[in-house]
Structures are given as structure tokens and as C-alpha cells.
Symmetry: C2
Subunit: 207 residues, 2 copies
DNA sequence: GTCGGCATACCGACCGGTCGGTGTCCAAAG
DNA sequence: CTTTGGACACCGACCGGTCGGTATGCCGAC
């Protein structure tokens, strides 16, 4: 140690002095997104984070754990955001549009997490996979609730099952990572609004 | 060999006597879809196909080659289908609806190939990945041409970029594998028609 | 004989995970 | 103030196992 300090363990003192677990998660996310979970060795992760394997296995039970934590963080954040938007007092169409646009924006802001989500889910251990799926389903159900609300009130068409529409939409969202490039001409919010429009207009009762 | 025969090499003489390369491709597809490319060992594939590693490396240059052949087959078939539908003399809306519905049906009929496509693309060697992307882009461009045709004629809204709409739609299609179950209550064609409707209605000029 | 079409045995690389050890800090004892 | 003990955070060499790929041999067809 060249730098002596009185920092408490777990406390960040600078850019590359961030808490070790955070650094591990951060670099693991980048590497998993770029090369895939299986193609990324634990050795690579710890080297990128500037620590050793001992450190990693001190904080995480396994390589799987690392992946799971990445998922859990994303899911928590997206669920929190949806809940906040969906339960506001705004009119239904606005709430749905905001929820749709927001999930697109947050997916673009965290493209790496998004990429990992669709590429590596099946590489988790079965029980952790179950946990992720359950959380994911809760999220989808909340979103579907908004669609069903509009169908019940007559604002939306009823000739398309709500779950089909929801899966249709989230397919698009999950695939953002495969084509969206930051160098493109559209901002994340613009894409989000386009997607929200497409969803809302697809839900208009047929003329 | 317990069974002697006078069949020519490469000639099918029965169900499990199909040509060796075909059997390898078939079982590799199933295993890749179920366990992922990296988690499937060459040993497992050849055992499932009832041959040995020697046979596999006789017909394929590498494990990567196997994956690439699976992609190439799917791409060829989908491109052929799109071309046939898109260039028929039918009205534009019908051609686009048919193209959309067809790609959904074929994606569901070959759910395994579809699953592999979105999970394992990045595990191909860079040059093969480039080849796949190029072919894929040609397909998307042909599809986008239909959308642009409708925008030019005034049938479709022009306030959404055609490429955004196309990516929106194909995101949904690619993700069918993550939720569609054959045990569900909707047939592949029903889903296809729903998806086509959603696309066409999202493209209606805003009222 | 020789050539395609495989089978079998084997290699070297690599990988996830373990484990005994080490430095640092703090708190209580003396 | 000094000593001591031990919890915490981390290090890094090492191991058992697996995997993609290869070298070589056999065998029937021509």
C-alpha cells in the first residue's frame, strides 16, 4: 500500500478507490456484455477491477453470484421506477406512455445490463433463474395491469390480448441493445417516445 | 458397427440413418437452444447424434462452423420467404401484413433456431459474425423498403422513422422464444396475425 | 492401393474454485 | 501508552476437471 489512509472499509475515497464489490460488479458488467458470461474468466474480471481472485470470492460466493447481483440491481431499479409512474394520479394514457418511455430510456442508459439480461439469463443456476423470472413476471404483470385498465374503460382496443401486447412491447425493449448505437442521431428519450407512441397507437380501438 | 449395410455415404436409409451432417446440425441446434453454445460440449453433440468427434471434425471445421451453418440455414429460408411475399402483386398493406405474420410463424415453427440466434450470435468468430450481420441487414432493409413504400404513398404515418419501426417490430419477433410456449392457447398463426395487426395499426396515420 | 469416412486415444490449455497465509485496524487489557 | 488478540479484507499459488481440437489407425468401396 503506497497510500495510507484512515478510510473505513467499504468507503470510497476516490475514483479508483471505490468499494471493491462495486468495482467488481462494474467491470464484470462490461465484460459480460462484451464477451458473454461464459467467455469471461474470473481472472479477467479481477484483473480489470485491479484486485485478485481472493478478493472476489471474499465478497461473492461464485461467478454466478456476480451475474445474479447485476440482474437484481437492474430489476430493483426498473420495478421501483414503474411503480412510481404507474401509481401517480395522471390519466391512464399518460401513465402508460411515461412507463413505456421510461423503461426504454433506462434500458438505453444501461445498455450493458440490458445486453446481459437477454444473453446470459439461462446461464444462471436454476434457482436463481427462478428468482429472476418471478421478479420479472411481477414487473410485466404490473405493466399489463395498465393495459387492462384501458381496455376495461374502453380507451384501448379489446381484440388483442393484453399479455400479447405486453410481450410484443417488451420484446422490442429487450432488443434495443442489438441495434441502438449512441452514435446514432436519436437520443434515448426520442426513441422512448417513439416506442411509447407506437404502443399507444397500436392500442387505439380499430377505426 | 453392429449393422452392416450397403448404403452410400451421405444417403439416408431410415430415421436415425439420416446423413451424418444433417443429424449433427439437428442435435446441435436442440442442445445449443437448451443449454447455450458455450455450455454444450462437442462431446455431447456427437453423442446425441450417435457419432464420434472424428466424424464431426470430418464434416465441420470447428464448433463455430456448426453454429454458423445453423444461422446460415435460417437466414436463407427467411430471406427466401420474405422475397417471395414482398414481390407479389398484392396491395402493399397485404404484402406487409403477410411478411410480418409469416416471419412470426416461421420463428415459432423453429423456436430453437430463433433462441440460438439471439443468445449465441456474439459467440461466433468475428468474420463469421460479420457475414451474419450483413445478411441480416439485407433482410431488414428489404422489410424496411415495404414500410417506406407505404410512407411515400401516404398509407402510413411519416412521423416515425421507418428503421425505428422495423427494429421495434423485429425486437418483438426475436423475443418470441423467451415467452411463447406451444402449450399456450394461441396458435403460431394467431400470434402472427396479432403481431401483424399491431404493426399495421401502429403505422396508421395519427388521427 | 488408395481414398473417403469415420473411430479412438490423447494432448495441452484453461478455468472455477479453494485454502493457507498476510497485513491492517481496532478494542480491551495491563 | 503499550501490548495483545482477533476480526476483517485481501492475496496468489494451486488443484481437479473439462473442453476443443488433433494424430493416427481401421475398413469397406472402387
Amino acid at each position: 500500500m503506497t497510500r495510507a489512509s484512515t478510510r473505513k472499509p467499504g468507503e470510497a475515497t476516490g475514483d479508483d478507490q471505490a468499494a471493491v464489490p462495486r468495482r467488481l460488479l462494474e467491470h464484470a458488467t462490461k465484460l459480460f456484455a462484451k464477451k458473454g458470461f461464459d467467455r469471461t474468466s474470473v481472472q479477467e474480471i479481477v484483473e480489470a477491477a485491479g484486485v485478485t481472485k481472493g478478493a472476489m470470492y471474499h465478497y461473492f460466493g461464485s461467478k454466478d453470484d456476480l451475474l445474479y447481483e447485476i440482474y437484481a440491481r437492474v430489476l430493483r431499479e426498473q420495478t421501483r421506477q414503474l411503480e412510481s409512474v404507474a401509481s401517480s394520479g395522471a390519466p391512464l394514457r399518460e401513465r402508460l406512455a411515461a412507463a413505456a418511455s421510461d423503461v426504454v430510456v433506462s434500458s438505453i442508459d444501461n445498455l450493458d445490463d440490458n445486453t446481459i439480461f437477454l444473453q446470459s439469463m439461462h446461464q444462471l443456476s436454476p434457482d436463481k433463474q427462478k428468482a429472476v423470472r418471478a421478479e420479472r413476471r411481477k414487473y410485466h404483470e404490473r405493466f399489463r395491469g395498465l393495459v387492462e385498465e384501458g381496455q376495461a374503460s374502453g380507451e384501448f382496443r379489446t381484440d388483442k390480448p393484453a399479455d400479447v401486447v405486453v410481450d410484443f412491447f417488451f420484446g422490442s425493449v429487450h432488443h434495443l441493445g442489438s441495434w441502438y448505437r449512441r452514435s446514432g442521431s436519436l437520443t434515448a428519450r426520442q426513441i422512448g417516445d417513439h416506442y411509447a407512441d407506437l404502443l399507444l397507437d397500436a392500442l387505439r380501438p380499430p377505426g
